[in-house]
Every structure is written in structure tokens, then in C-alpha cells.
Symmetry: C2
Subunit: 672 residues, 2 copies
Amino acid sequence: MAAHTVRFRGTVGSYSYSSVLVNKENRAVGSVAVTGTFHIEDIYPCVNNGRFPIKRIVGESVDVWADIFRDGHDIIAAALIWRREPDHEWRRVPMHLHSNDRWTASFTPEELGRYIYAIEAWTDEFATWRHGFELKQKAGQELTLDALEGAALMTRAQAGGTEAAKIILRQCEDYLRTGNVASLLAPESQEAMAESQHRPDICRSTLFPLIVDRPRARCGAWYEMVPRSQGQDPTRHGTFRDCIARLPDVAAMGFDVVYFTPIHPIGRTNRKGRNNSLTAMAGDPGSPYAIGAAEGGHDAVHPELGTIEDFRAFVAACRRLDIEVALDFAVQCSPDHPWLTQHPDWFKRRPDGSMRYAENPPKKYEDIVNPDFNCSDAASLWQALRDVLLFWVDQGVRIFRIDNPHTKPLPFWEWAIREVQSHDPGVIFLAEAFTRPKLMKGLAKLGFTQSYAYFTWRTSKWEMEEYLRELTGYPERDFYRPNFFVSTPDILPYHLQSGEPWMFKSRLALAATLSSNYGIYNGFELLEHEAIAGKEEYLNSEKYEIKVRNWDQPGNIKPYIRELNLARRANPALQQTSNLRFVQIDDANVTGFVKVSVDSSNTVAAAIAMSGEPHEFWFPLSDVKVKIGNDFRQVVAVENLLTGERHPVEWGGLRVRIDPARDPALLLRCLA
Amino acid sequence: MAAHTVRFRGTVGSYSYSSVLVNKENRAVGSVAVTGTFHIEDIYPCVNNGRFPIKRIVGESVDVWADIFRDGHDIIAAALIWRREPDHEWRRVPMHLHSNDRWTASFTPEELGRYIYAIEAWTDEFATWRHGFELKQKAGQELTLDALEGAALMTRAQAGGTEAAKIILRQCEDYLRTGNVASLLAPESQEAMAESQHRPDICRSTLFPLIVDRPRARCGAWYEMVPRSQGQDPTRHGTFRDCIARLPDVAAMGFDVVYFTPIHPIGRTNRKGRNNSLTAMAGDPGSPYAIGAAEGGHDAVHPELGTIEDFRAFVAACRRLDIEVALDFAVQCSPDHPWLTQHPDWFKRRPDGSMRYAENPPKKYEDIVNPDFNCSDAASLWQALRDVLLFWVDQGVRIFRIDNPHTKPLPFWEWAIREVQSHDPGVIFLAEAFTRPKLMKGLAKLGFTQSYAYFTWRTSKWEMEEYLRELTGYPERDFYRPNFFVSTPDILPYHLQSGEPWMFKSRLALAATLSSNYGIYNGFELLEHEAIAGKEEYLNSEKYEIKVRNWDQPGNIKPYIRELNLARRANPALQQTSNLRFVQIDDANVTGFVKVSVDSSNTVAAAIAMSGEPHEFWFPLSDVKVKIGNDFRQVVAVENLLTGERHPVEWGGLRVRIDPARDPALLLRCLA
């Protein structure tokens, strides 16, 4: 047989790592490396085994679990270690054995940004020695040699702080001088040795990434505003100043975020006319998604909206009202975009040298061209796109709604989001991907802070509950933060097309309570519902024309929106999505659920009608507990979040009635 | 902002791999690499995400599944690739889209050994072009440029074989000459391009390991033989020749494997006496697990058993009866083992220079010492242990039962099993680890072919069913092959201590039918059940003395054992463990289940009583299907495997009666 070699695995932190790795000479071992002494397995939380980051909010605890074991019966120890990227110091906290070789520990990231966590395990040789010593002592065995062996372990301790070193030295010398084993067995010796002992077999798990976002990533009510339509004169293009004038109205409705459709110069070549017609009439403004013209590209503002100073004034006006600005980021360019002449290499040409327009055969989009992310000059294209984002960050924008991210390369987003967040870790990215479920989840995994969801098309109780169970279950809850939009400029769902107020309210209440992130598109508050016949699209969409509205039109549901948003602000249970549990309501068109805040201090029970007739039903509350101080107590009463009325809970629940014509939602704070 | 660099990811196989990786200069990207264009996720089968191998039997299909997607709407393609380690060529098979971005393909390893499999995905640019072309053609669009673009794709094809290249060249030239797009759209162009086209964005998943074992790894009935007790003269030590004389009896019972407890020279220092007493009397043989004496160590045979030639004769005698030999591999050494003087560095000493005996405080095992796997000369120790295994492989032994592997370092086993199997991939390792569940599973993951299990202590119906569901579920079924022992020299479970024949038969039938690998310890067939009072241990254990038995003692259950083993041999459904489904039997002490062979050709329904009184119950068979040719048909009759009687299946099941006094098991082959 051939000779063999031994390799040592170097060092981990300040410890030498002596796990022996023996390979047969002249023969490939294959691609599976020999592991260390410990198996550190089934680590929770993680996404794709650590390939992608989990997500948390700053100040939220990260509770980590893992199976940790080695051979034999020695006592082992483990630590959860974590650090902020890229180059902060490791921090560590001891892990505790829960049961069945499963260990746990928690840490709380106190700053925004990217983190890495991992697990270290090693043999607690001193505790093993001490445990054996005490058993032998009880059995009355001769222990001189055993005591010396314990002292010998002490002399090898070197990893801890000076205080521990002093204790170890003192206790060890005390034993050697007096022969009194009590010095070796003292709790302070145990503690100092737990910190300081030599750890020749320490092993570290693979590294797991974590993104820590600001609270706005967890919760926000969005108002999608099309700036061209915020004026009051149908012959005049709306401006940023008009938008500023709208802000008190938006703030009164209780929104946290105003999201602008694209604000950049709009191309003239092949401009789309009203209702997406192929030819624009004189004066037609074109689609704001055909980005770029002689006036500039992605880092310019459309002259008819105003100047960049006007935009900054808008951001400042929002800030005074505690509202954030979200911008649309759409990669595509109009044929007039400056990049087409500045960077012809970024765009594909056809065999005759003509421009390759966007298409989805047999449909052609001749008002836009897509840059080629894999072109030979890809690096400068990627950088330019990132720099557009950073430009707007510099203008005070910290939220981006990314248009159709699922039609651009996934590695681009992973890179771009990381780049922007390494500049400002508070920047939020919302993925507007309405596509196949796994691609939507794939985008969420690679770094999007929030994601559009199928809410818009979930209309029956069973499909809504099934969908929410999926999004709030594992592993989705660790990486997918849904943002529920009741409608968008592109989507007027069929169920809204008859314009019934109860349906608008029901959809609003579902979105606003099931998901802590939700949004409406301007006009929803006015029950706008005129569709292109047979399609889920708005007729006379303001994507292609300027609209003027009476924002106080009779029949509007602005007071209802305000009530819901204020209830959200007052109840932390509604400021998160994942702590959600459906309850059994014996009505096929009423969904009932209970949400609990991250800190367990606030519990809200909700029932929402999904059909228009009155509903009377039993709301079971017998297994709802409310946290008072450190205790969990049985709910004894509920308070209606909108009316303030209180009702006692008797016989483990509540008989309730919902009349959707008045209010399809019943929101109850649970009291104990 | 800083400048950036672009890196290309080299080549994969024969394809260039152009996924762009852009990093910001002078800033660490962190430990998470930017991925390729494709996400290849949730790959099944795998163990710990590919850290450990899955296991299959040669000729069994490996069905692989994965979520595969990229951005956008382009048509993609994927291949399952695999190769035998260490250095065989990759083989590949196309994957097919099942639904919801989940793809699948299978391969069948035809040789023993270690394999690696992985998934490659790329964009099928030509199929994408063709799909778009046909849609535009239907819409009546002008297509001259589109056709040229298809031809251009053809000119870049270079990856396939010469036949494909010829087709592509011919079709492309034909189009360019005639302008007839039919040449581009022809199915043969499509096929040739699927094989040959340029794949600039090809991505490969991580690699997943696979161990392919021989059929004996999946199924075997084991007979544990203590060679010292195979003689017929109580004053004489049993010999290999005595063991040979026993073989016809063992073969008649239908066993596939004879497993020998250790056969090496036994130490004299601190030798244990009868019933594990601390001092041996003159003539006491000592524990065969105290390995090594002046006559030799792990590669020697105990002189009282005979010579190495006698052992070889035993192996040859077994082979003639189609029986395999399994040897015990116990690492520990007696204080007289030659290694203690040849390699003093392998053993720990105490502060006074004395030997460190094995201990489990406060218990001491002064007849054995354990080598130190982490000693400074660890490489030579690991090699020596491996060489012991290879020595016995050279003597014709291809099965090892590893004694207490859970008290030796896990990396040692991963290395040693790989080493031995790289010499002979047919060698089977059975882990005798009765320890905590995750450590037992950990050993199975790192390479043990089979594992002891908790069967011996699962006595109620619910716990037996729960345990089998665990072992046959995912992911356990892919790495854990249980071997159910009804008893061992160390374990006489309480339920056998009253010696009731029905209980012995019930345990035998449960072991032999629930698990395709099972074993008995010699004497079980004679209903031996004399225990040390209050313990699950045999009184007068032959671990410490020589026993002589009448192997044809009245009341023995050898005929029953034979019947069960022959039923196993005749029914492939019983030759595997994982295809197992419990059925509802309305009797708390009868377990019922259905097993189907790997190829679905054989279906066996079983009901086994776990209490002694007669049972009468309904065996539901309405959802049992039987494969006839390529069809699955409803079961219409059953045949009793032991009696040969046939019964029609009426009203979706069978009313049956079990009298455990006669036979606690009912085994039925399902017929259609």
C-alpha cells in the first residue's frame, strides 16, 4: 500500500485547528473533503443552506439552532459567532443544549447591514475531566493521578482573557501546593477553564449570511402616485409642485411611502399613444417607461415635471410629513436615450445594423430597447446602472421599486443590491416581478428587500389562506417579504371592475392587515374601475395620458383608508407579516386570523368578509394568549380597532356580525 | 466611485462559461460569491446539501429532481451529469421539465463505487429563436432578418459531434442558397442545434456524491456466530473447523451472512472472568473484544480457533453455500497487544507513566486500552487500522461489523471506509452504534453501508410504526440502511426474557419483514433467554466463557426461521426496506403494512401480532395496486407466503385471523 500524508487544517480565530486529514498519496480523494471532529448540521435559519441571506430587522433577535455532535461521551461546548461585513470583529455567545443534540443561541444585530453568522464547537476537556473526577470521587476511587491530569489541563489553558488566566494560575498553584482538589473543582476554575482552555479540536460550520434592514422594510403603507396626473388642469402636465400639493391628502390617509412611477425624460421615437396605441398624437405624453430623450436618461428628470431641485423639494416635503419617497427603476431605454449614442456597445443590433427593439414575439415594443447585460462592455453597463441608483440615493431616495427584475440577469441584481447597500444599508428594493413562483422567490433570495405577490389575484378564502401560509411558513418567512398591492397601473383585477365599495374596502383591509407592507395605486381611493373590456387593464390609463381627478369625489373611501392605516400604526401586531395564524371561521367567505407583534406585546384578531352579504359567525379565541409583562394570559376582552368598542370574551370566543356594506373587516385588539 | 473589474468564470467541460462577475475594486465582496445566470435549487436526492453521499444499489435508478430557472422567457435546457470517481468521464442525460420550474432526469449506475452527479443548465438560444420565429410567422411579420439571425446562431454551433455539425452546416447552407427558412426550422436542425449550439451561459450546480453498493448491502439475513461456542465438547474451545460443521445448519435456516465476533488473540493481562467478573479463573477464555496478545493483534487469529488457513477454509466453505462472512472490527487493544510495544506513541499514558486504560467513569475497563486517534503519530495509526481491514479483505472478507464506531472520531471512519472501498467498492460496513439518534445518523451519512437501529427496543405498535416511518422517510431513506437485530451478545431485551415462543417468532417476523437487513445472535433459534436479574444481559454470556449447545434442541424455531428467510428470498418486496407503507389495522397490537419491490413487480402485505392472544381484524387492500407488465391493477387475491393458500380479495380487503401461538405473522403476496 502507498504511503500517506497528514495535513493539519491551520487555525480558526486564535485557536489552532488540529483535525487530522489523511490522504492516500497519488490518488485523488474526490471532491468531498474530510470533515472535522464535529458535525454541525441542520442549521436554522438559513436559505439554500447559506447560499443566500436570511433577512431580519435591526433590533430583532436572530435565534439560531443546530444539531451539534461528535463521537463519544465527552462534554462539548459550542458558540454562535457573528460579525458585520465586510470587516468587523467576530462576536460570540455560548450556545445551549436544548435536547437531542440540538443547540441554540441568539444574537441581536444593532446596526443595519450585512452580517455573517456561524457556529463553532469544541470539546470541553476540562468539564469532561471534572465530570469524570466527581463520579470517581463518589465511587471512592484513588484520584491522585486524576487530579494531576486536571492540573495539567489548566497549564495548557491559553485562549481566554487575563482575568481567567489569573484564576487558573491561582487555583492550579493552590492545588499543587496544598494537594486540595477543591481548588480544581471550584466553580470559578470551571468558568475560567470554559473560557480559556486549549481547544485543539475546534470546528467551525460554514458561514451563513444575514441582511439586517431598517423597520420600513418590515412595514409600510404605499401610495403609488403617477406624477403627471397630480395637477388640476387637464391641459397641463402635472409637476413635482402639484405632487407636493397632494402630500397632505396622502399623509391624512396615513401612508408611509409615496411611490413615483418613472420621472425621467420620455422618448419621442415610436412613442406610444393613448391606450397603448402604436402612434402618438401631438401632445400625447408617452409612456414614462420609455426612458430617455435628448433631455437626459435615467439620472435626469422629465422637464414637464420640473427640475431636479423641484424633485428635491418634493423629497423634503415628504420628509416633513414623515413620508418616504420610492422611485421606479426601469432598466429599458427609449431609442432616444443618450446611452444609445454614448454606449452603442451596450445594445444589440440586427444583421442589417438596425436597432434590436424589445419584443415578446409576436409582440414588439418599438418605443424601448433593452441593454444587453452580457455585452462585451458589460462591466461599464452594470456600473452605470448601479450609479443611477446611487445618484438617486444621493437625492434622498432610499426605496426603489424595480420594474420587471425577472427579465434581467439574476447575478446583476445580486451584485447591484449589494453595491448600493454597501453604500447605504438602509436602501430598500422592492421586486416588481409578477412571474412564476420560483423565480419570484429566487429574486427575494438574492437580495430584494420586498417582493410583489400574487395577492392581487387571490380572491377566495381558501386560496388566500393557502397563499399566506406559504409566505409566512418556513423557509419563505426568512427571505420573502411580500408587499400586497390592491391594484397597479398595469392591473385592474376583474373583482374590482364592478366598482362595489365593499369589495374595494375588503381588498384594502385584506392587504393592509394580512401583509404589513401593502400599497394602493392612486385612484383606488376613488373606486376607479373602468376597464378595457375583457382585460384586467385600466381604460384610458394614465401610463399614456394625463389624468385629472377630483381627489375628494363623493363616495371616496379615504376615511376608511385612514382608519385602517391608523390602526396599523397603533398596533405592532399589524406591523409584521409572519406571526400570523388563521382561525376556523365557519363561513366560506370570511377569513379569520390572529397576528402577534414581534415582541408579543400586541395581539390583533381579524375577520374579513370576502363576499358582499352580511355574515354572522363565531370567532374562536380560546387558544389566544396575550402577553402581560412576562406572562401569557388568556384573552378576556377585545377592543374594536376602528370603533373603540369593547366586548368581553365568553365561552372561548365571540359571536360577531359583519355587514360588508358598512365595513367588511372586523379588527379586534385582544386584552387580558 | 471606484473603478470596477470584470472577471469571467473560466470553462465548464468543453464550454466557455461567460457569466460576468463584477466586483468593486478595493472592497471585499464578502464570502458569498456572485452566482451564475441560473438558479439550480432544491436538488433531490441529497444528504446535507451534498456534504454526504446518498446511497443506491448497483442497477437501481437514481432519479434526480431540481428547480432550475433563469430570468426572462428564453427557453432553457438542462442536463443531469454524472461520473464514477475518481477519474471517469462525465456522462450526461437531458433533463425534462416536470412542472413549476421543476426538472427531472435519471441515470442508472452499472458499476459499484463512488459517483458524483450534478446538473448543468443553459439557454437553448436556437429553440428560443425558433419559437419566436414561428410566432412571428403566424402573425405574418416580415422575417428576413430573423432568419439571418437563426442562421447566425448555427454558425456559432461547435459543441456537438461531427454528425450534428454536418447537419447544421448543410441546413444553414441550404437556407443561405435558397432562402428557404424550412431548412432552419426543420426538426433535424433543432436536434442538431440542441446538441451543438454555443452555450455561453452554461452553469453547473454543486457536486453531489453517491455511493453505489452491491445488492447484499440492501438485503441480507445475518447469523451472528460466536466461534468459540460452535464445538460440541464443553471442555474444548470451538474452532473454525467446528464453525464449518455448523454451516449446513445455518444455510438450511436460510441465512445469507455469518457474522463472527472477534477471532483474534485475546489478552491475558487483566483478563475478564465469567459473567464479566474482574478476575479470570484458570482456563477462562476472556472477552474476544480484548484484542491482541503475544500471538498477534488485529491481523492474527486466536490460536485456539485454528490457523489463518483454517479461517480461509471457513470462508471457502461459506462461499460454497452462498453465504458471506462478516467480521467484527473492534479498535480497542488488550494491554498485551503487540502495538503497545511497537507503537507506544499511539497510546496515552498517565502522569506517572502508567497505561491509560479504557474507562467510562466510574467504570474502568482494565482489560482494554484505546489507541489515541489524535496522537502525534496519528497518520501511522490510521493507516495501520485501515491496513487491518484490507488484510481481511485479502482473506475474502467483504463485510465488517464495526464495534462502537461512535466512540472513535467521525473523520476516521469517513476516511477509512473511503480507503477500503477505493480498494474494493463491494466492502460493506455495518455500524454497531447504539447511541443518540443524530450520532447514529451522522455515522450513516459519512459512509457506513448499514446501521444498527433501535428496533431491539421498539415493542409497541405505535412506536414501531413511528420509527419505521422515520427510517423510510426523507432524507433518511437515502442514507440510512437499518439492520434489525432481534438480540445481540450484549442485549437480551426484557420482552424476550420470559422465553415465549410467540414473542421470539413475532420479533423475528418483524425484523425479517420490516427491514430487508436483519440478524439473529446464535441461540435465538433455541429461544435462549436466561438473563442477569434486572438487566437486559445474558447470564453466563459466551463473551466470557465457552458454551456448548444442542442446536436441534426440542422447541427450537429453526423451521420458522427457514420459512421466513425463504419467503424473503422469493419476494423482492421483502428485499428492500424503504418502499413500505403502513395500513390501518383496527387492533392496537397488530401492525399491518404493504411493501413493494424496487421494480414494482412484487407486492407483499403483512400483518404481525405484537401481543400473544389471537387477533381477528380487517386488512384493507383497496388502495393496493399490483404491477402487471406496465399496468398497475387492483389486487384481487392474495397468496399466503408460508402456507401457499390463496384468498380472494372482496369488498376491498380481507378478514383475517392471527393466532400467535401458531404464527404471529401473516405474509401475503398480492395478486392481480
